[in-house]
């Protein structure tokens, strides 16, 4: 069943026996990767499986400890990105790396500046950039500063930049994690065009639908080792998942129906930057899904409710009482907690221990006199870690050392310890692998069963449809529709219909 390297075939890229260790962690151990010309090659694996690490070895950001890489049949080793780019390999990086104070043109042509003598030729460069932007239907002028773009637009610039190198191999490390379905479709059309031209693409994503839609072959990694490769035609979803996690994942969206109680939290006529006149309510035990395009103002609404952005108008009610929230501290005290979509920036203090991260919002209740009760703190954190099946050597390790999924669990642990009444989850499974994802979904159901009201924002339609009791659809800062679970179960409403609402249709 394993996909065997065919002697006859020409490979653009061959990686053989690559190993790489960071200090004590063996990130890669003897992995293989074979990519053909004009093929979209998916790379699958759990968080921390070593996908990005291998890509960084190829692009020259890391040097492998062992193993050899052949590019277009010739031995290849890049000491830095410049050499890789010159050789014909470009990459879209997993972590969005914008240069906020550069213009789009400056960002795209960084290290490839147009010059006249020793001076820059800004005019020629802007013209060149505008041509490229136009080709990709990008709605901004090349002189726009990067910081004026939205997250998704920045990601599109990254994509355009990677393509603009005219490379023969393009690595895309989770390019769609901040794109919505329309933009994803745009990206796919770009990928198909590139394929036509014979460009090879390595495509990394945790979204299985995308893999099935666009990819030709798939290689699977697990814990830094190479598990195998398949032709996409020969692959099925469950098979790939069990290759990735080493076991069968029973149910991807394990929605457990539970009793829905009275209204816990109600929002009336809420307005602020990015959203307008939002009203909804959420009940005990309910999972309220919020769908919409990226940039439709979902996160903004929740940030405002949580006290991170100002509210210009509207009222909040918790258990029938009106409440005022100006700062996250007040929201937490009232029992409203929020997992931010941006884990790196708003989730964790990466250089502090897991324990400190989990205990941070609840320190006031873990005191003995003026001092902290570290015993109680440790016990609480351990309990919560165990409950969530947090995989870590010890809770004293830095949060930095955790894989993405476990980092996300740490954030969840932090909020569960605060014993909330309403839990807001903004993209709770973004960048989280299938295994961890199903665990997080499981947990969500458990919380709901305990009477918690859960609000979940997600850009992944299958997730929203699989998990929610009720779905609100956003369009341009307004709620444009409501879908009940029954409608989905009965097939009355499907993905297309929700999407249509998200695009502003009825």
């Amino acid at each position: 069943m394993t996909y065997k390297a065919d002697e006859q075939e020409k490979y653009v890229l061959e990686c053989h026996g690559i190993s790489k260790a960071f200090g004590g962690t063996q990130a890669l151990c003897n992995v293989e990767l074979l990519v053909r010309q004009g093929e979209v090659h998916a790379l699958l694996g759990e968080n921390g499986a070593g996908k990005s690490t291998l890509m960084k070895c190829i692009i020259g950001l890391h040097q492998q400890d062992k193993g050899e890489i052949l590019f277009e049949g010739k031995p290849y080793s890049a000491k830095g990105p410049t050499e890789a780019l010159n050789a014909g390999i470009s990459m879209i990086h997993q972590e969005l790396n914008p240069e906020p104070h550069l213009t789009i043109a400056e960002s795209i042509f960084l290290k490839r500046e147009n010059t006249k003598g020793i001076l820059l030729d800004k005019r020629a460069q802007n013209k060149r950039a505008d041509e490229i932007l136009k080709k990709f239907n990008f709605p901004y002028n090349s002189k726009t500063l990067m910081k004026e773009l939205t997250l998704a637009q920045m990601q599109m610039v990254e994509i355009i930049k990677a393509v603009s190198y005219n490379s023969r191999l393009i690595i895309m490390d989770e390019p769609t994690s901040s794109l919505d379905s329309e933009e994803t479709a745009h990206l796919f059309s770009i990928i198909r065009e590139l394929k036509e031209k014979g460009v090879a693409i390595i495509y990394i994503s945790h979204r299985m639908e995308e893999i099935f839609e666009i990819c030709d072959y798939v290689s699977v990694f697990r814990d830094g080792t190479y598990v195998g490769a398949r032709s996409m035609e020969a692959a099925d979803r469950d098979g790939l998942i069990s290759m990735m996690v080493g076991r069968k994942v029973e149910n991807v969206f394990p929605k457990v129906e539970c009793e829905i109680g009275e209204v816990v939290f109600k929002v009336e006529g809420l307005s602020g930057k990015g959203f307008d006149d939002i009203s909804f309510e959420v009940r005990k035990g309910e999972i309220l899904g919020i769908s919409g395009l990226v940039g439709s103002g979902r996160s903004e609404t929740m940030r405002a409710i949580f006290g991170m952005d100002p509210i210009t108008e509207g009222k909040l009610y918790l258990e029938g009482r009106e409440i005022k929230i100006k700062k996250p501290g007040q929201a937490i005290k009232q029992g409203i907690c929020m997992v931010n979509e941006d884990r790196k920036n708003f989730g964790l203090a990466l250089h502090r221990s897991i324990r400190e991260n989990i205990a941070l919002p609840t320190l006031p209740i873990m005191q003995k006199g003026m001092l902290l009760n570290k015993k109680k703190e440790e016990k609480n954190c351990l309990n919560m870690g165990n409950l969530l099946k947090l995989k870590a050597a010890s809770i004293e390790h830095d949060a930095f050392s955790l894989s993405g999924g476990n980092q996300q669990k740490t954030v969840l642990a932090k909020w569960l310890l605060a014993n909330p009444k309403v839990l807001i989850l903004d993209e709770p499974t973004r960048g989280v692998d299938v295994g961890a994802k199903s665990e997080i979904h499981n947990l969500m159901c458990q919380f709901a069963a305990k009477g918690l009201a859960v609000i979940m924002i997600s850009s992944e339609l299958p997730e929203i449809m699989g998990m929610s009791d009720r779905i609100l659809v956003y369009h341009e800062g307004k709620i444009r529709g409501e879908v009940l679970r029954e409608e989905i179960l009965s097939g009355e409403t499907d993905q297309e219909k929700i999407l249509a609402k998200a695009f502003g249709g009825m």
């Binding site: 004590g24 063996q26 991170m308 931010n340 203090a349």
Partner: protein
């Protein structure tokens, strides 16, 4: 996932590295003490150790405050000027206005704490860079000190006041007692209280701290207020030591404080610091001065030695913890 773990000194590799990351500076301190003792045996004497501990008490107060500031990704350049301001206020109140000593000290330390609060508010509320804010307030504070003293030295002849530096309780000079007390309090504050946790969280990832309900404004203001308060205490000890109130003292004292913090493993990236580390850093700086004086190193080489020790220690730490590019 973990394969066979390498063992170093009976600890497994990870732990050893964590230990060296945290206490590698202690090794440097010990090596330094051995080296100086070897060059100059009188260094080892109890009386010399008491000397050094008394001498470093001023820098220690400043360094602890600086450590908090650096931990929140800031810096407090105003401490040197705060020394001068406190000194001049003490001089005016005690010598010229005849205030009682406790009251004068209270007033002076209050003023320095207030300046700390101002620093903190400007930094946190107006989102200004700590370097810029404290550079500016430093100029203003020193100007105030000059204004108060009229640029003159005001002798403080009150014997009780001078005893603040020289009195001994059970053979231990008073400044050492203050040092011990402040060290314990700072240790508890940073490692055993809510505020300490918030300081680390804000320094490591301000946005995450905000999203966890931590008030950045309160935390940072507290940090600079404490720094101001400790600079005030340092100013009192300083003034008692020289028995004279002067507006030109403390210039460049932030340098030694920063050096002590850096040696003690405080990271300019924020979120990382330990009070025991800073204490060791303080003593390293103290031993550099004391050791060089005892060994009799030529004046010209003293500043070079200090620079080389700081850079060497940090470099060693970097290499040991594999943090280089």
């Amino acid at each position: 996932m973990a394969k066979e773990k390498e063992k170093i000194l009976g600890m497994d590799g990870d732990k050893f590295r964590m230990f060296m990351g945290k206490y590698g500076i202690g090794v440097i301190l010990v090596l330094m003490m051995v080296f100086i003792s070897f060059m100059e045996p009188s260094f080892r004497s109890a009386s010399n150790m008491i000397n050094v501990a008394t001498q470093v008490s001023i820098n220690a107060m400043i360094a602890y405050g600086m450590c908090l500031a650096i931990t929140t990704e800031g810096i407090d350049l105003s401490v040197g000027a705060q020394l001068a301001l406190v000194s001049c206020i003490l001089g005016q109140l005690i010598s010229n206005k005849g205030w009682s000593i406790p009251l004068a000290i209270l007033a002076a330390v209050l003023v320095s704490t207030l300046w700390g609060v101002i620093n903190g508010l400007l930094i946190s509320k107006f989102n200004m860079f700590p370097f810029v804010v404290t550079l500016s307030t430093q100029l203003i504070i020193r100007g105030l000190a000059q204004l108060i003293s009229g640029g003159q030295a005001i002798p403080i002849t009150d014997a009780a006041f001078k005893r603040i530096y020289s009195t001994k309780i059970a053979a231990v000079p008073f400044p050492i007692l203050v040092l011990i007390l402040v060290t314990v309090l700072m240790y508890l504050l940073l490692h055993w209280t809510k505020l300490g946790r918030y300081i680390f969280a804000v320094g490591d990832n301000m946005n995450a701290a905000i999203a966890s309900g931590v008030s950045v404004i309160k935390t940072k203001t507290a940090v600079y207020a404490i720094s101001g308060f400790l600079a005030g205490i340092a100013g009192v000890i300083f003034t008692a030591k020289t028995a004279s109130a002067q507006s030109n003292i403390g210039i460049g004292y932030e340098t030694d404080a920063v050096a002590a913090c850096v040696l003690g493993g405080t990271s300019f990236a924020g979120g990382v610091a330990t009070i025991p580390g800073v204490l060791m850093g303080i003593f390293i700086i103290g031993f550099i001065y004391n050791g060089m004086n005892l060994i009799g190193i030529d004046s010209y080489y003293q500043s070079m030695t200090k620079g080389a020790v700081i850079i060497g220690a940090v470099l060693l730490d970097m290499v040991m913890n594999k943090k280089t590019n």
